[in-house]
Every structure is written in structure tokens, then in C-alpha cells.
């Protein structure tokens, strides 16, 4: 096992923000840390990285306590951080230096990632034009001159510059347009293909489903659900039935005493107990002569599982009012 998180605990005064969190990454791949705002994801990540003192528990990397200063770790923080007024190139070289990457190597890697992330124009100002007094030299770009998305790209570059073994991405795709979302996804896929270990937190459940095999859902600091995503879904069974008919079929729903979860022009989502109940419902629809346009029975989505497990977002938001450490 490469990364083992055991019984991680964090308290602020009397308030417990992370309670007995344990999980592990056995093989290269992406592990998802999910939870509502204030659930303790960022605090857990900070403890894993050793930025924040923990009240209990341990984090092991290849059997040894994880020290982010010794292990090559890349981190993309949830709240993007760049110096607003310093030249971007200087910042990247500084971050690379802190990771022990030599200046020459850092320059090569910056060149590569600048091309890959399509931010060359911000890192390499055009050559001066004109001659003598008329020569116009463009100043190096600073972070406050960049859009949020481009700042995010520079931040991702900073996380990747040391070619990390373990990459922690806190909400990597938030705020990105579809084109850049695809760009980030392709980079994440490449890193996984290279055999890297990734921990990712995101509120975009479809992204998690796309990348992650194993997940932990946190609610108010506690792990309320964790394990292999496919097995979790299987455990729930095929309980989501999607039905669309040309005719109205409310009478059949009433006959089976089923609960309609959503009703859209694309059909109704109906909660069933399992395949048997769904089959009986379909039989009744057909015997009643209804024209079935769509009939689908599937496991709950991660989104549905998340909403069920993490509970009301409003409740958690209320719990994190005022100053906190998230």
C-alpha cells in the first residue's frame, strides 16, 4: 500500500472537524474525497500534507510517515494561490526551487507545461520590437493580469513541475470552461497513465465517476461512506427506474405505491425496491396497453448517493458560519 491514512483527527477547541478518517491508496489511480462545504475535506488534505497539525492518527507513504518536504508531492489548492503582482515565471521558478528542482530543469518543464496548458503567451513575453529609443519591451505578465481559468492553469503547472509521485487536487475543475475542463481531464488521465497516485476532491460527481475507483464521502468530519465506487453502487442495487410512455401512467404508479423522484419531459424517475418490482411494474404497463418509449433500470448515480449520504447542504453551511479553518 502506498498511501495509508489512519484514524486522522482534528479539533478546533471543542469542535471536531475531522473524526477518525481512514483510507488507503493501494495502487496508482485516483481516490476521491467527497463532502459538502465544511465537511472537512480541505482540513483532511492539509493534515495529510502535514501543513496542519493533527490531533491524532497518522499518514503513511510507503510505510513511512508522510513528510511532504521529503516525498515528492504536488498540490493544487481549492483556493488558488498566486502572488498577484509578481511575474509568473519568477513564481514558477520559486515554487520549483522549493521542491528541489534545478533552475535549468524547471525552465524545461515550464516550457513543456506552458505548451501543454496553452499559456505560453503569458510566460514568454514577445521579443522587443523596434530599435533604440523606439524599442518596445513588454513587461512580464503577473497573476492579476490573467483570467481565473488561466491562473488555475499556472497553479496546476506549479503542482506538476516537480513531476510528483503523489498529486492532490482540491476541486481542480471548478470554474473552468468546457474546453479547459477537457484539457485538465486529459492531463489527469496522463498522470494516472504514468502510474501516479492522485487524491481528488470535487463537487462534480460525473467527474469523480469518470476518474475514481475508490471514494470517501465526508459529512461533518466523519466518513459516512467509503469504498470501491462500483461495489457501493452494486450494494445499493438497481433501484432507479426511468420510464417514459406516450400515455399517462399515474394509475400504475399508484397501484404499486411507488415514489416519483423526478418528473421531466424526458420521463419519470421512480424509486423501486429492486429488479422484481421493476419487472412487475413493466408488465402492468404493457398489459394496460401503454406505449413504453423509455424504460431503464439502473444503480443510483454518485450524485444521488452523495446527496443521500452528505445530507442537506444548507445544514452544513449553517454549521460553518463565521470564522473557521476550512
Amino acid at each position: 500500500m502506498s498511501l495509508v491514512v489512519k484514524n486522522l483527527n482534528k479539533k478546533y477547541g471543542e469542535k471536531t472537524v475531522v473524526e477518525d478518517l481512514s483510507f488507503s491508496l493501494e495502487n496508482p489511480g485516483v481516490y476521491a474525497l467527497l463532502g459538502t462545504n465544511g465537511a472537512g475535506k480541505t482540513t483532511s488534505i492539509r493534515m495529510i500534507l502535514g501543513m496542519l497539525a493533527k490531533n491524532g492518527g497518522e499518514v503513511l507513504w510507503k510505510g513511512e510517515p508522510l513528510d511532504a518536504m521529503k516525498v515528492n508531492v504536488g498540490y493544487l489548492a481549492e483556493e488558488r494561490g498566486l502572488y498577484p503582482k509578481y511575474p509568473l515565471m519568477d513564481q514558477l521558478l520559486y515554487f520549483a526551487k522549493l521542491k528541489g528542482v534545478s533552475k535549468e530543469e524547471a525552465k524545461k518543464r515550464i516550457k513543456y507545461w506552458a505548451g501543454r496548458l496553452e499559456v505560453e503567451e503569458y510566460l514568454y513575453p514577445p521579443q522587443p520590437t523596434g530599435k533604440g529609443r523606439n524599442m518596445k519591451k513588454e513587461k512580464p505578465k503577473t497573476a492579476d493580469q490573467l483570467s481565473k481559468g488561466n491562473q488555475q492553469k499556472i497553479q496546476l503547472m506549479a503542482a506538476l513541475l516537480s513531476d510528483p509521485e503523489l498529486l492532490i487536487l482540491d476541486e481542480p475543475l471548478s470554474g473552468l470552461d468546457p474546453v479547459n475542463t477537457d484539457l485538465f481531464k486529459s492531463i489527469i488521465r496522463e498522470e494516472v497513465a504514468k502510474g501516479k497516485y492522485l487524491i481528488m476532491s470535487s463537487h462534480q460527481m460525473e467527474v469523480i465517476e469518470e476518474f475514481c475507483e475508490d471514494i470517501t464521502i465526508l459529512n461533518r468530519g466523519k466518513a459516512v461512506l467509503q469504498g470501491n465506487l462500483n461495489e457501493i453502487k452494486k450494494g445499493y442495487g438497481r433501484v432507479n427506474m426511468f420510464v417514459k410512455c406516450d400515455e399517462e401512467f399515474a394509475d400504475i404508479i399508484a397501484k404499486h405505491q411507488l415514489k416519483v423522484l423526478t418528473d421531466t419531459p424526458d420521463g419519470k424517475q421512480i424509486k423501486v425496491t429492486g429488479e422484481e418490482q421493476a419487472r412487475a411494474f413493466l408488465d402492468d404497463l404493457l398489459s394496460a396497453g401503454r406505449s413504453v418509449v423509455k424504460f431503464e433500470l439502473r444503480e443510483p448515480s454518485l450524485h444521488e448517493i452523495f446527496v443521500e449520504m452528505a445530507g442537506s447542504v444548507q445544514e452544513d453551511a449553517a454549521a460553518t458560519e463565521g470564522g473557521d479553518h476550512e
Binding site: 477547541g13 492539509r46 497539525a53 508531492v73 498540490y75 494561490g81 502572488y83 511575474p87 506549479a158 479553518h325
Partner: protein
Amino acid sequence: MNKHDYTGWKDVFRFSFEQGVKANAYKISLVIFALLVLLGVPFMGWLQNKGEKDLGATAVEKIFVYDETGLEIDYTGFATGERYQKLVIEKTPDKTYEENSKALEEAEKPVDILLKVTLEESGYFQLTFVKAVQAGFSDDDYEALTEDFGVYFDDAKREAIDVTPEQAVFISKPVSTGVEFAVVDENGNITIEAKDKTEGITQQEYGVLLAGIMVVMMIINLAGGQIANGIVTEKSTRVVEYLMINIRPMALIVGKILASLLLVVIQMAAIGVAFLGGKIISSNLFPPAAVQTGEEPGALDLFLEMMGKITPASLVICLAVILLGVLFFSIIAGLAGASVSKLDELAEGMKIYQLLLIVGCYIGIGVCIVEMIGGVNPLILEVLCMIPISAPFILPANLLLGKVSLWVGLVAIALLFLITVFMFSFTAKVYESMIFYNGKVLKLKDILQIAKNRRAEKKEGK
């Protein structure tokens, strides 16, 4: 704290220093300050010179001198040179001063000024000039004449009692008395223990002390401001999130403090060099009209004289006290920076820092004033020179002026070192909790509570 806590401070230092130097605000302020000083000093010299030269020959025609000193001074000797050669000076021993005053008011031209010269009971010569109502010369002319007359009188009185300028300088040296006690130690050896009794300071020494306080205040304030600003910027922009996985908070704060210190020292050095450059330009372009022998040295002369007398030990102690003082205040500034989440709340977070700085500075100014009035009790001065918040302001100049001994400096260093180490240790406990804190500005009691919680957490962890 261990070595690991400081790993990477050099990288932080280098980056913070490079970015500080590259910042337009720094470059512009450095150039503006240096230029202002470089050009300002010669300009002041020019103004002074211009004022002296433009006056030309005086419009004062006659001075009556009423001398009560009993010294045989030849006042007519003043009427020399282009400016005063037409001036008539008469002594009026036959009449009383009151009679002369009345005569002055009633007389028509050419009596312009009545001068009364007295030796006051408190031991100084008083020259009182009375300008006649009908006198037709300008106030500038009058003022220049009175100043020149004072200088002439100073020389003339020495000549009257047959003292050379060199002897006068020698005689006017300050007097310091010391009390020594013969003490028998445990082994029966007799040793002498001295107790110095310090006299008050001159106006020039006051100038040096005050300038010392101002320079140290500027260094501490600029360095502290930069550090607090840098920390809040990193906190509010969340850069600190990235930094903290690569370096420990202590390395971060140490690198920042040293970089800010170097930036401020460069700024101060540039201003100092510009000042000396300005002085050289000024003295070459506008040489002083007359350097009076026996005159008390100015603050700059005293400073230069003081620089010449500096011993390696006193220099090391002074630098160490200033450096430790800057470190001590910078750590407080760093904590103040970490206690706020947004730049616009920084002023509120810096209240305690500002208060300590003002208290330290005011103690320094207070000591200067009391020293000038009549001298501070040596014991009180020594204690104030040792207190960490006032030591950086008072000790260096007092040590260089010989007002306190080297051992006071050593004790001050020891105390400053201990409190700085304590502050570092305290900062190490609370900094990482504070650096991720987001919310209202933390008060002192909140910071102490964080430290208490950290101690409890540590115990719990064990």
C-alpha cells in the same frame, strides 16, 4: 523547533528579496529618497550661502555698546571686512543703560543699535541688541549682524582673558566624575569597583541620540510593515497553501524577515550615502562662510567623531542590538499579519505592534530629553537600555557616546536574544494555526488561546 523547521529559508529569502528589489514602489521610493537627500543637502547649503552673500554691506551705521562685563574688549575690531567696514562702534561708559536707551529712542540718525553686554549670574554672557525705532535697515540685516557680532564677541572675550582657541576647546570639554570603591573579595584581594556618574548631554549629543532613534524606528517600521504586508498577501491570496507543503512556517517567516531587513538596510544605506554625497557637493560648491574655532561641533561632526571612536566590540554590540530588535519587532509584525485575513484589516491587526513600537520609541525620546535637561540616573538609563522594547532605540547611540558601558550592551543582547527566541518559539506554536485562519481579526487573547490549545493538543498527542 529543529533544523527541519528552517529548511528552505534561503529560498524564501532570495525570492522575497529579489521581488522586493524588482518592485517599482521600492525602486521609485529608493531613488526619490536618495535624490531628495542628495539634492536637498546642497540646496540647503545654497540657501544658507545665498542668504549670507546677498546681504552685502550693512545698512547699520552706528552701534552704541554698553558693556557691564568689565572685560577689556575692543568692539571696534568688529567693523572690518566688506560688510561692516563703514560701521561706527562706540562704547558708552559715561551713561547708564537706561539713559542710553532713552537717548536711542530720542536720537535721530545715525544711532541705530544699542548693545548691552552683561555677564549673567547663571554664568553666561548676554548680548542684548536694541534696534532704534527710526532705524532704516532690514530685519535680515539686523539678524545677520547680531549673529556675526556674537561670533566676534566669542573670540574677543577669549583674547581679552588671553586664552587661545585651542585652550578654549580644551577647557570646554565636558567633565565626568567617577566614584571608586576599594573592595576586598573572598580571597582577600583588594579590587577597585568604579561607579560612573554621568553628566547631562549637549544639544549636539541630543541630536545624535534622536537621529539614532529615528533611524532605528524607520528600519523597524519599514521592515515590520513589509513583513506583515507580505504575510497577509500570501494569506489572502492563498499562496501560503502552496508554500506550506514545501517549507515550515518558521522558515517562511525567517526568510521574509531577513529579506525585508536587507531591503530596508539597503534603503537606509542609499540615503546615508546620498547624504554624505550631498554634504561633499555642498561643501565644495558652497563652503561655509567662516568656520569658527572653538565652536561646539555640530551633530554631524559629533557623529563623525563618534564613528572614529567606535571600537569593534561596541560596533558589534550596537549592530547585534539593532538586528535583534528588528527581529523581535518583525516577529510581532509577522504574528500581526497572520492574525488578519484581508489586507484592509491589517491596520487593525497591527495595533499591538504599533503600540509596542511607539512605547519603545517614546522611552527613547524621553531619555534623550531628560539626558539633555540634566542627565538620567545612570541606573535607570542602564535598565532602559536593557529592556527589549526600548533597547534597540536607546542603547546604540548611548553606547557609542559612552553613556553606558559594554556590559550593559551584553546584557541587552542576552535579554533581546532570550525574548526573540521565546517569540520564535511562541510563533512556531501558533503560526500554522493562524496562517490558515479565516475570519475576524484575532485579538491577543485569541492568539494566546491558540497557543494554549496547541499545548493541550501536544499533550493529547503524547
